[in-house]
């Protein structure tokens, strides 16, 4: 073997090993993150955390019960805003629209998707908080819902398009009108994909903090109804992590663990649904 060849083979082996190292580093970051959260957060999770309200500054023993409920309300609102628009809009794109309108809608959705979350916060402030003169769960839910729209829209459209035309034609041949075809044949066929899309969009906005800073603000009590400011997990994590109180740090870790745990579980479930479901054999 010539020396040059030996060298080239060495370089080949070396560089390929390096790529392995890169992959290892990238993946291990996830486990490092999880490890720290489990370690610090696990030791701080207590019954208090889930059931108590925050206590006055400097005292210990408080919890994030209101933040957990607040996040739940915000996400519920976000889903009510984001999913119908995304879902129905996607049906329009996949089933009804012509080329030009479809292009415009898709372009707008991609634009919206790329907007940094802090800018969405500014927008929601200008649109909901300012006119109604109140920070509110509504404003926060609206901001998060906006972020869910593009993800839901594009993914749902893709899955709807993925349903084979044979199904559509068969339904029409049996005399079903278009909307009936969509409602009873196409959507159920794409059901798994759509559910996955919704879950992933949900998980994405569950962790968003920036848009909530100017919309839902915060609350040290339970937030009554929908028109008052509310505490939320991500914002509490942010506030507590920056402060100097040890007790708050512990709670921030615990909240981080809960939040990340929730997001990861949703992600894993979503992908499992998708991979296990081959609703219709692909043509």
């Amino acid at each position: 073997m010539s020396p040059r060849l030996r060298w080239r083979k060495f370089v080949s082996g070396f560089m390929l090993t390096m790529t392995g190292v890169c992959a290892f580093v990238a993946v291990s970051v996830l486990f490092v993150i999880l490890g720290y959260l489990v370690y610090h957060g696990g030791t701080s999770i207590s019954w208090n955390f889930f059931t108590k309200l925050p206590v006055p500054v400097g005292e210990t023993g408080g919890g994030m019960a209101n933040a957990i409920l607040g996040s739940a309300k915000l996400l519920l609102l976000a889903t009510l805003v984001g999913v119908p628009i995304g879902f129905l809009g996607a049906i329009y794109l996949a089933e009804f629209s012509g080329g030009a309108t479809a292009f415009v809608v898709r372009y707008a959705a991609d634009l919206l998707n790329g907007v940094p979350s802090i800018v969405i916060g500014i927008f929601a402030f200008a649109l909901v908080v300012h006119p109604f003169k109140h920070f509110s769960t509504l404003a926060g839910g609206f901001a998060l819902g906006l972020m869910m729209i593009p993800i839901t829209l594009r993914s749902t459209e893709e899955f709807l398009r993925g349903v084979p035309n044979a199904l559509r034609e068969a339904a029409m041949a049996l005399g079903a009108s278009k909307w009936k075809t969509i409602a009873t044949v196409i959507v159920p066929a794409a059901y798994r994909g759509i559910l996955t899309a919704v879950l992933l969009a949900f998980a994405r906005v569950a962790g968003e903090t920036a848009p909530l800073l100017f919309t839902a603000l915060g609350n040290q009590f339970w937030s009554p109804g929908w028109k008052q400011p509310t505490a939320s997990l991500p914002v509490m994590i942010y506030t507590y992590a920056l402060a100097p109180y040890e007790d708050w740090h512990r709670q921030a870790w615990a909240a981080g663990l809960v939040l990340l745990g929730l997001i990861l579980i949703i992600n894993i479930v979503a992908r499992a649904i998708l991979s296990r479901g081959i609703a219709v054999p692909r043509s």
Binding site: P56, G58, F135, L217, G218, F221, P224, P244
Partner: protein, 341 residues
């Protein structure tokens, strides 16, 4: 699927219904008195279960801005609104906004110098110099000169200040403007200034956190934050030449003169106050209450709170190292409360 939607709808209705009779009032502003306010509003809620006063500490600048916008029911600030801001409020709403002092507090110079646990003395020149970025090392003569007997290292000072509009900043820069002409012309006083040096952190909480975690750091925080976090803080030389540490007595002494000559709108600065025992970086902190409320229940709730705050509430202040309001000021405030309609 239908069952889930059904459950969701029920949940939504419940969310509205369950707390239907809770009156929720939102206030926002200063982080300076936040430990006090969070205690007060918590106690007050226990006494009035249907009333939640939700106070968010976003900084005095935020308090002024949001109460002017009308997005919160009341504000809180340690830097009183200036005439321009008052006029802006009046123009926007058609009625004025009133300042109500709540407690007396102090900005203290807190530091984290490895190996130094002693209480350091600071002259006004040293404070101005450090924050102007001209005094950069801990063993600078301006500092070591008045701290004989303490071994100060030659490390760089890491200055920490507020990153957002802050009344604590207002108090600090108000003081520096009074004692340093250079500061006055170069930087000025305000809630948000163009800092010549240092790191920015959001809220008293975060400044305290940053100082605690960063060796050789130096910043200004409200007294209780330094105490609650076991951070060493220094003495400051007052106008009579004595090095005074911030505590209940020295802060109360600083307010003595102002108490007797309190203006009707309660806007007064007590930094660099005369008096041998006065702490020079003390200040009142104010609630900003609109002069008119369209919602009578909200108005009565807030007035009720202010009355309680001026009476029972004052008994909670000393435990958190805030000084009580002078009696004359309390009396004047109770009268002024009638101007809130």
């Amino acid at each position: 699927m239908k069952r889930i939607t059904g459950m969701l709808l029920v949940a939504m209705v419940l969310a509205v219904v369950l707390w239907a009779d809770t009156l929720s009032i939102t206030g926002a502003g200063a982080t300076f008195p936040y430990p006090m306010y969070s205690k007060w509003f918590d106690e007050y809620h226990e006494k009035n279960a249907n009333l939640e006063i939700n106070y968010q500490s976003i900084g005095s600048g935020g308090g002024i801005r949001q109460v002017t916008e009308g997005t919160v029911d009341f504000g809180a600030t340690d830097g009183p609104m200036n005439d321009e801001q008052l006029k802006a409020y009046q123009d926007k709403h058609g009625f004025g906004i009133l300042h109500f002092p709540t407690v007396l507090g102090a900005d203290v110079p807190a530091y984290n110098i490895p190996g130094v646990t002693a209480e350091l003395n600071f002259t006004p020149e040293a404070l101005a110099g450090i924050f102007l970025g001209k005094i950069t090392k801990w063993n600078d003569p301006a500092i070591s000169g008045v701290n004989k007997g303490v071994a100060l290292p030659g490390n760089d000072i890491v200055v920490v200040h507020r990153s957002e509009g802050s009344g604590t900043t207002y108090i600090w820069t108000d003081y520096l403007s009074k004692v340093s002409d250079e500061w006055k012309t170069k930087v000025g006083k305000g809630a948000s200034v163009n800092w010549p040096a240092g790191l920015g952190a959001k809220g008293n909480e975060s400044v305290a956190g940053t100082i605690k975690n960063t060796p050789n750091s130096f910043g200004y925080v409200e007294l209780i934050y330094a105490i609650q976090n076991n951070m060493p803080y220094g003495r400051v030389r007052n106008s009579s030449g004595a090095f005074i540490k911030a505590d209940l007595a020295s802060v109360t002494a600083a307010a003595a003169g102002a108490a007797k000559n309190m203006p009707d709108d309660f806007r007064v600065s007590i930094t660099d106050a005369p008096g041998k025992t006065a702490y020079p970086i003390s200040s009142f902190t104010w609630l900003l209450v609109p002069a008119k409320f369209s919602d009578a229940t909200k108005r009565d709730a807030i007035k009720g709170f202010v009355k309680w705050m001026l009476a029972d509430g004052q008994n909670y202040t000393e435990a958190l190292s805030y000084a009580k309001l002078p009696k004359e000021v309390v009396a004047k405030e109770l009268k002024a409360l009638n101007n809130v309609q």
